[in-house]
Amino acid sequence: MKKKVLSTLLATAMVAAMLAGCGSQAAAPAPAAEAPAEEEAPAEEAAPAEEAAPAEEEAPASDEGKVLNIYCWNEEFKSRITAHYPGYEEVDGTTGKIGDVDVKWNITPNENNAYQNNLDAALLAQADAAADEKIDLFLVEADYALKYVDTDYTVNVADFGLTDADLAEQYDYTKKIVTDSNGVQKGTSWQGCPAIMFYNREIAKEVLGSDDPADVQEAVKDWAAFKATADKLKDAGYQACSSVNDTYRVYSNNVTSKWVDGNKINIDKNIENWVNDSKALVDAGEAGTHDLWSDDWSKGFFKDGKVFAYFGPAWFINFSMSCDQEGSVGIDGGWGACVGPQSFFWGGTWICGAAGTDNPTLVGDIMKTMTCNADVMKEIVQQDDDFANNKKAMAEMAASDYTSKILGGQNPLPMYMEGAEKIDLSNLSAYDQGCNESFQNAMKDYFNGNASYEEALDNFYKSVIEKYPELTQ
């Protein structure tokens, strides 16, 4: 009996302890977020600053917050910071250290607007959050940069100490995209994203008789030529591209109107062209309909993948092509690059400082180092096959004997530079990400014969309106 009493007591105690544990753990930030937070914050900041000051070398943010909260959607920026920001030490997958400041990575995948929803919620709570909980820095993509740039949640980069001279060598489009309606630039990027076509050299040799970029370019110089080449590839047992979603950006970045006109969803002529051309490719068995980044889609990065080409900007090489893996096409320099049927751009990541950050100096320094420092820019190109956002540095490297190992000794920089000058962003809207994603997903059903074009279109409208209730068909 005694034993039983004991065990019951224990159980009760356990419950109590657990409750207390859960309670205090979860509740702790909440009270701090209330009224006294503002008065408390400076005191909190001042205290550790003194003791930290002597140890200070690289991190300039000595009198500021002790936690740097970064919101982003994948590992890319983290790996850039790890590799190129002086003084950054990785602690584990989601935390790091710069001097005595803890860096917290909050990574939420982009898909289905998850990243934006999460960021929105955090930004809306920013004013009430404790200093160490506030977002200090977040990343945005071209598809929805406008949504954030045009609000008070982002801050003029000049306020973080970035001068016009710092930004002089950046490509204009990278500045325009993060400039609000009053002409204030509110973010900055380290990369330029003019995109080109990457082709498998071995397949090119076999089917087109040459893997020289100029010859391949001739075979894919416009969409009609691309389709003819696709037919040839098909006969030889290859797919022109892994998925029709690969070519989507090529069309969608060459549109002449925006996704949303007023509150009405608008489908551009060139998007319709993509649907028609893609349907032809799929019906002929010359391309699949996999989602980008899926396992099926990425088979072509490996030697027996039988995929001729992928479309993408420079970051694509490092980010997607598994070139460090045994058995991949890239590890032996098996890729070639040419402009492709149309030049386009894709993605790009911009760093925005959040309004209300308690680490403005550090945020400013990260922006400066990662996007304005020519040496870091060159390093990024060398190490990561990326294309950096610095005209002068790129021109120097284009003229140098720099070659990309993955691209079989080709120097792709002149191609990128040419493309970067042509980028036109006049038709971006704040809804691009949701629309692009829903459109590709809805059309997949049409390509696969599960729905007529009208039905697929209908599903596209439905899905967009679920994401953005204010829009109409």
Binding site: E111, N113, N117, K147, D296, K462, E470
Partner: protein
């Protein structure tokens, strides 16, 4: 006893106030976390209320507009259909195998060896995290995943069958997973019911020369009716809540052409984009549908439970 009615009664009354005290935690928590939210949900369904980017729209009172929207755009019907189709596809084989296995396990003449092992194995999938299970199936049934590769290598098909791009494929997978996850559970439920049937009935049938099939259809099945009904309706209510498996399998998109989009996935979409008006209206519809089904369960299971099952269970226990 008769001498002290007064004292006894007052003591009982004194004790009985503890009945209320013991009920407090449950009732309070229920009121706060279930009942109040239920009313907020209903209340919200009459408003236009969502987040557009970083701007809040509403709440504006719109009457029944949300309800009208859901009904007229055909979504409610379509997703109810999807949900029911996938439920039926999974439930039919589930009940078939459960009856079969239940009959075998409870058949004394058949003397299945290692019954414990088999029961353990068939119940196993029920405990698996549905999200993981769906993710696993997604990778295994991918266009170039192990299943397709194996079938091609065996010469069964010449090119990969894209499971998630055919209505039959994706609905079939969802149904198949539901079947796998639940048939063990149903088997054990039905078996318990079968063991509860008076053994003398079987003996009498045997003496009369009835075959196993006859025994099954003439004796077992009719007597199982209340439990079967209970199983069916609880499974239907569970089916209407179908979410994890199709959500993860199709990544919330209900591919293809939204043919595997369930009611709760649709609700989740609205909750996700913080469109509280539409989510509210949809919830109210769901509430009504499950309410009706619950009433049926309540009527049959609680009443039948009292009339038929209970005595059997007691016998079974003893």
């Amino acid at each position: 006893m008769a001498n002290t009615p007064k004292k006894g009664k007052s003591r009982v009354v004194r004790y009985n106030k503890w009945g209320y005290i013991f009920l407090i935690p449950f009732i309070v928590v229920y009121l706060i976390f279930q009942l109040v939210p239920l009313f907020t949900t209903i209340y919200n369904s009459f408003f236009e209320n969502y987040l557009s980017g970083l701007k809040q729209i509403g709440p504006n009172f719109v009457g029944l507009a949300n309800y009208k929207e859901i009904v007229t755009n055909g979504d409610l019907i379509k997703y109810t259909q999807n949900t029911l189709i996938m439920w039926v596809l999974g439930f039919v084989p589930q009940i078939f195998f459960s009856l079969l296995l239940g009959a075998w396990f409870s058949d004394a003449r058949l003397r299945i060896r290692a019954a414990g092992f088999f029961k353990t194995v068939i119940y196993l999938p029920n405990l698996i995290m549905a999200a993981s299970f769906a993710m696993l199936f997604f990778t295994l049934f991918a266009d170039s995943g192990p299943i397709n590769t194996t079938m091609i290598n065996m010469g069964l098909i010449s090119e990969p069958y894209k499971f998630l791009e055919h209505a039959a494929g994706s609905r079939g997978l969802v149904a198949f997973m539901n079947f796998l996850m639940w048939f063990g559970n149903t088997t054990i439920l039905l078996m318990a019911g079968m063991l509860g049937i008076d053994g003398s009935l079987f003996e009498a049938a045997q003496v009369d020369g009835a075959t196993s099939t006859q025994v099954f259809f003439r004796i077992t099945l009719p007597l199982l009716r209340p439990i079967l009904l209970y199983v069916m309706i609880t499974s239907l209510i569970g089916g209407l809540q179908m979410f994890d498996v199709p959500q993860v399998l199709t990544n919330g998109k209900g591919n293809p052409v939204r043919m595997s989009m369930t009611l709760i996935m649709y609700l989740n979409n609205h909750l996700y984009s913080k469109n509280f008006g539409m989510a509210g209206a949809l919830s109210v519809f769901l509430f009504i549908i499950t309410g009706i089904l619950s009433l049926i369960v309540y009527k049959f299971s609680v009443q039948d439970n009292v009339d038929e099952v209970k005595p059997k269970r007691n016998r079974n226990k003893n």
